[in-house]
Subunit: 419 residues, 2 copies
Amino acid sequence: MDSIVKLIATLGKKARKASKSLRGASTEQKNSALLHIASNIQKNKNSLLIENEKDLAHGKTHGLDEALLDRLMLDDERIAGIIESLEQIAALPDPVGEITDLKYRPSGIQVGKMRVPIGVMGIIYESRPNVTIDAAALCLKSGNAVILRGGSEAIHSNLALYECVKSGLSDAGLDSNAAQLIDTADRQAVLELVKAYEYVDAIIPRGGKGLIKNVTEHARMPVIKHLHGVCHTYLDRDANSQKAIEIAFNGKTRRYGVCNATETLLVHKDLAADVLEQLIDLYVDKGVELRGCEKTQQRSNKVIAATEEDWSEEYLAPILSIRIVDSLDEAIAHIDQYGSSHTETIVSESITRSRKFLTEVDSSSVMVNASTGFADGFEYGLGAEIGISTDKFHVRGPVGLEGLTSQKYIVFGDGHTRA
Amino acid sequence: MDSIVKLIATLGKKARKASKSLRGASTEQKNSALLHIASNIQKNKNSLLIENEKDLAHGKTHGLDEALLDRLMLDDERIAGIIESLEQIAALPDPVGEITDLKYRPSGIQVGKMRVPIGVMGIIYESRPNVTIDAAALCLKSGNAVILRGGSEAIHSNLALYECVKSGLSDAGLDSNAAQLIDTADRQAVLELVKAYEYVDAIIPRGGKGLIKNVTEHARMPVIKHLHGVCHTYLDRDANSQKAIEIAFNGKTRRYGVCNATETLLVHKDLAADVLEQLIDLYVDKGVELRGCEKTQQRSNKVIAATEEDWSEEYLAPILSIRIVDSLDEAIAHIDQYGSSHTETIVSESITRSRKFLTEVDSSSVMVNASTGFADGFEYGLGAEIGISTDKFHVRGPVGLEGLTSQKYIVFGDGHTRA
C-alpha cells in the first residue's frame, strides 16, 4: 500500500505540473494532439487488437459474462468509432478562454468572466476501453490534465490505447503527463486517488452503482456523478393522444439498457381511457413486462401488480411500471418521491400545465412533448459527453466540455483604484 | 449528542420540505417576504438592541477582544444597514427560472437551460449578526431553503433577528421553515450539520481559517469556501508609472483587514528604478511595514528582510512583502507558488503581456490596471455577496444569487421521438 500512496503522489505531482502548462496551450496545439492520437491509433490498430485479445482471453477464463466481454471487445468498427470521436472533439469549439458578460460598472472598471480549465481531473471507469480515449480527449480539449483509472479487466487494451495518447501529446509538443494512466490493478489505487485532493480537483466515476458509491463515500474532492436513471414519462390530461402514445413507447423501448430510458409511466386518469389500452398492447407486443398500480390493473389483465419497490427501480430491461394519477400535482409528487432527478417528460398541449411541470420538477433534464431518450450530450449539441450528472452542483445533465471548465472573473481598468 | 443528531434531522426534513415549496414560489412572494423581514426588524429594533446587549455583556465578561465585540455590536446605523441590504436584495432580478441558450437541434427538439435553486444550503458563520439576515435573504431570493448556524457569542442577537425572518416568511405566505436557525450553542451541531448530506445540498462556512478547515474536513456535501486572500499586485516592465503607484498603494492601504487587500507586491526589475522609491516612501508615510527580497532591500533601507513564510502570509495588517522579479514569467510562477487563487492584478500597457497574465494566472479574479480592492460582489454588479469562493468548482470569486443556483436542461418537442 505504501507504494500505491507514492505512485498516486508521483502521478499527482506530474499532473499538476502538466495542468499548468496546458492552461496556456493554444487551441491549435490541443487539436493537433487529438489528431495525432487518432493517427497513432490508426497506425497501431493491429497491436491494439492483439492487446485487446489478451484481455478478452483473460476475461473468458475468469468467467466474465457475455455482456461484459462485449463491452470489453474492440474490433475494426469500434476502433473507427474511437478515431471518429477524436476527430469530432478536435472539431468542437474550444471552451477555454471564452470571455462573456463583459460590462462596465459605475466605478469605470469593466468586469466579465473567462472560461478556464478546472485543473486536474480523475476519471475512474470500467470495462469499455474507448473511455480511455474519450476521457483523455475531453479533458485535453478542455485544458485539464487527467489521471485515468480503467478496469483491471481491460488493462492491456487501456495500456495500448494510452501509449497512443502519450505519444500524441508529445507529437504536438505538449507535456505527455497531461494524461496519465494508473497501470496497477491494485484496487487500493482507486481509494488513494480519490483521497488525493492536493493533486486532483474533481473526480468522475463512470460505471456501476458499486463503483459510484465507493468513490462518493471516500472522495475528498468534488465528484461529478450519475447515480440512477429512473426516468418518468407523464401523460397529462391535456395530452394529444397520438403524441402521448409515441413518446411513451419510444421512451421505454428505444433501448432498454440506457440511463435515459423511461422506467415509470404516469398517466392522468382522464387520459387513461384514450391511450392506455393501445399503449399496453404495443408494449406487450414488443415484449415489455408491465407492472401497474391497482387502477392500471383494473383496466388490463396484461398488467401485473407493482410493488412499492417498483416505483424506484431502474430496470434497464424490458420492464415498465405504470401508475394512473389523479392530477398533475400527484404526478409531480410521485416523481419527487421516487425519481432520481435524471430526466422526466410531460406530454401535454396545455402551456400552463407544461410550465408548471418544467418549473417544479427538479431533474437534470425536464422535457415537454419529447421522448426521455433525447437526454444525451450529442442530442443536446454538446458534441460529446463524459457522463450525465444527476447532482445539482456545478453541472447537471449531460457533461460536455463546458462541464469540465469553470469561470473566473476578469477585470479591466485604466489605473482604477477603489475609494 | 444523540439529541443533536435528532435536532439536525428534524431541521433537515423541514428544510427539504420547505425547499420544494420555495421552488414554485413567485418572485413577488419572495420579495414580499424580504420586505416583511425588513419591516419586522424596524418594528422590533428596540428589543433587538436589548438582545444584542446581552451578547455584548456576556462577551465582555468572557473576555472577547475589542475587534470581536465590535463585530458583534448592533446599533441604529448597523440595523439601518441590514434593512437597506434586504431592500437591495428584494430589488435584484430573480435568477430562478431564467431560460437561456434555447436552440433548435437537427432532430427538431429545442434544448436550453433553466436556472434553478440548489435546494437546501447550510451556512455556518461567526460573530457578525447581520449574516443571519444576509444569508437568509440571499438564500430566499435564490429559492433555497437554509439552515443557519451562527456563533454562540451572538446567540441572543441571532435568535431575535431570526424571529423577524420567520414571521416575515409567514407574512408572505411562505413556509417559515424556509429559513431555520440552530439554536443550540453545542459545537457538535456544526459537525452533524456538515454530515447531513441527505438534507443539505451545500455548505458555506463564513469565518476564520479554523472554522473553514473544520467544515471542509468533515463535510459530506460540496463546500463553497474562501480560504485565504494572499493577493498580488504585479507592476510590469511596461507599466505606466503613475498607474502602477496608485494601484499598488490603493491595493494595500485602502483597507488592511479585507481579503482583497494586496499582500505581496511584485515589481519587474526594469520598472523598479521608476516607481519603487516613491512607493516605499508612500507606504512608510502611511505606516506600512515593508518586508522585501534582497534586491528590494538593496534599493531601500526602509525595507526589512522577508522570510520564506512572508510570501504566503495573509497579513490582514499594515504589512507588505515586496519582490523584484526578472520577468513576467517569474511573476506568474511566484503567484502560482505562493498565491491563494483569490485576486491578482497586473499593471501594464502591453496588451500581449496583459493577455498572457489574464490567461495564465489561475485565480478567481484576474485584473489589468485595476486595484485588487475591486474584488467584491457589489463592485462586480452582483448586488450582494454571500462570500468569495477561492475554489474552482461550481463558482469562483464573489458569490451572489447566481452562485446559489444551478442550471437544468429543458427540452421542447412536439411529439418528438428518438430514432
